[in-house]
Symmetry: C2
Subunit: 360 residues, 2 copies
DNA sequence: ACTCAGCGTGAGAGCGCTCCCACCGGGGTC
DNA sequence: GACCCCGGTGGGAGCGCTCTCACGCTGAGT
């Protein structure tokens, strides 16, 4: 049966009796109540009392006991970053570093702490949910992935303030999220390849169970239509380099005459370039290739990749700020925020064949 | 005695306020004390009472209030991961993802939470220290970098259980750490380059204020000595690609005839290869190049890098476990743990010139 | 003059939990 | 038989904090 909690927890640490609010009040010559008000940016505190308390705080090295405060306020001054990702590899994605950096940025000057919740297995997943439901954090930021829909629903039920980074599947239940304009990004890709004169296009989309992948594909199709082009062949990859290479080979087998490929991630694009070269094609001479994400490797690759960039740090910062607001003023269901994307041109779609393409 | 006949107050999941231990006890027909014991893997609880409580836990969806528990036990069931790194870029290093993954792994099945403490500025740094000192966490893992010495000293004073990942500068104050054998790694590099017949060697060391860099350099020198080679030229880089390229150029200017370079990081090695190629040298034909870390790019680089690998995840897991033990049984100052390193051979030190070297 | 905001204050009541201690039986030991 | 030990139990006292409330005191309104 379910184990409620003899989870081995931690033993008492050697406690040097740290001063309590009572001690503080005594030292400042005021009552505990007044000390409390002064500590909390008190509204109704006389300047003298405030000064006395401030001095005592410094003298005693007073640090409020979070647990006690939390017990009565029902606030924990901490939020969770939920990473519902069974695959360890994904942590390697610089994406998470960026997200963490951004959220941390939003949290500074705030005394709110970031608790990391990674759930690799389904077991973890329910543990995590229990944790979130248990009121141990004031809010959560969920990095949206495949399973995001179930998370969205479960969390919505708890009423815990939650922001998703990346649109979750289940947007019906009034979830708030921050995302980039993946549709626009896809459109941009189509426009660009069309713009440099490519007409026999194809795309390699990401997994169909991820909103980002679906959106990019939709944007791509829209872009083609807007340019008066017919729908392009579509292959699917898993956002990895190998997956991209496989997809490129399939594409090439079915449509030997394509002259432009849009891969929905830079890693896939990398695989595409490799596969094309191996098949005797030049890039961008024979086939122009585009990626997505503006991943670090896009710039350092043998043939730097033209790609679509999204302001990831900004998105994470925004998600953090939105969560703080939502916690501060619950009930306000903020509108989703969508950041626009931009094209970054590099050698992989240079109009004229480049030196690096010539060596193939 | 109190009669518990009608199960009248069975507030199901619909109830607003989450059930307290009191509610649990009532539902289970025992006292609060007994319920508490049962919850905490009770020692002196009869099977019947235990079963009743277990059932009630499920029925009520009871989740213990951490704040209340923490208030009396003076434990928080959470540990901090401290990243004292002013430079945002460093977060991009997959290193951190690995560390987080490892610690998370050590913490699962433990109900201990990981809170992330990033301090980018000195301001943050003192805030962080205050936080740690405030008893908000039961222990800390510090990712050791430049400033690690001050951290080590400050934390040692607080008596907070702390484990460093990467040897801190100040090892005098009985700090516990987990590290890889950087000296051995450096030695390995020298051995390998010597082994493939290179005799005019040089190295690009990392910043002299990082123990890992210093140790690798020491190992390198030891390796040279053991092989009967004279001390090699040394240039310093900052662990970045550009830094590596710069250092390589300096090295080449002063010693045009070198035939082997050991860079203390893969990113630097990448820069080295670029710079050498730009200078008309072939790799590994003219000059064999080695990196360190077995970074992802070492494998995917145009010329895959021979490098030194260290079991980062294992190290992080170990650090996590050690911290838990130290918290469990304070006062036991565990010995530092040093993981051994291994050589990974790739094209950048292949004895015969490879195809990729021929295209230069 | 008398009242009445309204500010600054302090006493007191808990928040939900753990832990100490007193209690109660039953099964040993003398 | 008297004794004690010991497993199982419940009562009660807080842990350190916030928050409501009531209290005096001032200055303005009538």
């Amino acid at each position: 049966m379910m184990n409620t909690s003899p989870p081995r927890s931690l033993r008492r640490t050697a406690s040097r009796p740290s001063p309590t609010l009572e001690d503080l009040a005594l030292a400042a010559g005021v009552s505990r109540s007044t000390a409390s008000r002064a500590i909390n940016g008190g509204d109704r505190v006389s300047p003298e009392a405030q000064a006395a308390v401030d001095r005592a705080v410094v003298d005693l090295g007073y640090i409020p006991n979070r647990a006690a405060r939390s017990l009565v306020t029902r606030r924990t001054s901490s939020i969770a970053l939920v990473i519902p990702e069974p695959d360890v590899r994904v942590m390697m994605d610089p994406f998470f570093a960026v997200v963490i950096t951004g959220i941390t940025e939003a949290l500074r000057e705030t005394d709110v702490q970031l608790v990391l919740l990674m759930s690799r297995t389904d077991d973890d997943s329910s543990r995590t949910l229990r944790y979130l439901r248990g009121g141990h954090v004031d809010g959560a930021i969920v990095v949206s992935h495949h399973e995001a829909d179930s998370w969205a629903r479960s969390l919505a039920q708890t009423g815990l303030p939650t922001i998703f980074i990346g649109r979750p599947w289940d947007t019906a239940s009034e979830v708030t999220y921050v995302d980039s304009d993946n549709v626009g990004g896809g459109r941009l890709a189509a426009q660009h390849l069309f713009g440099i004169g490519r007409r026999r296009l194809a795309t390699i989309a990401g997994p169909a169970d991820m909103t980002a992948a679906v959106d990019r594909l939709r944007g791509w199709n829209e872009g083609l239509a807007a340019a008066g082009l017919p729908a392009s062949p579509v292959a699917y990859g898993d956002f990895t380099t190998d997956g991209g290479a496989d997809a490129a080979r399939r594409l090439l087998a079915d449509h030997p005459d394509i002259d432009g490929i849009f891969a929905a991630s830079d890693l896939m694009a990398l695989g595409v370039v490799e596969a094309l070269r191996a098949a005797g094609k030049t890039v961008p001479g024979d086939i122009a290739v585009m990626g997505y994400d503006n991943h670090a490797v896009a710039e350092t690759a043998p043939t730097p990749l033209t790609t679509i960039t999204q302001p990831m740090v900004e998105m994470a910062v925004r998600a953090g700020r939105m969560l703080l607001e939502e916690i501060e003023a619950p009930g306000s269901h903020p509108e989703p925020v969508i950041y626009s994307t931009e094209l970054v041109e590099r050698a992989s779609t240079a109009v004229a064949p480049t030196a690096s393409a010539a060596n193939a």
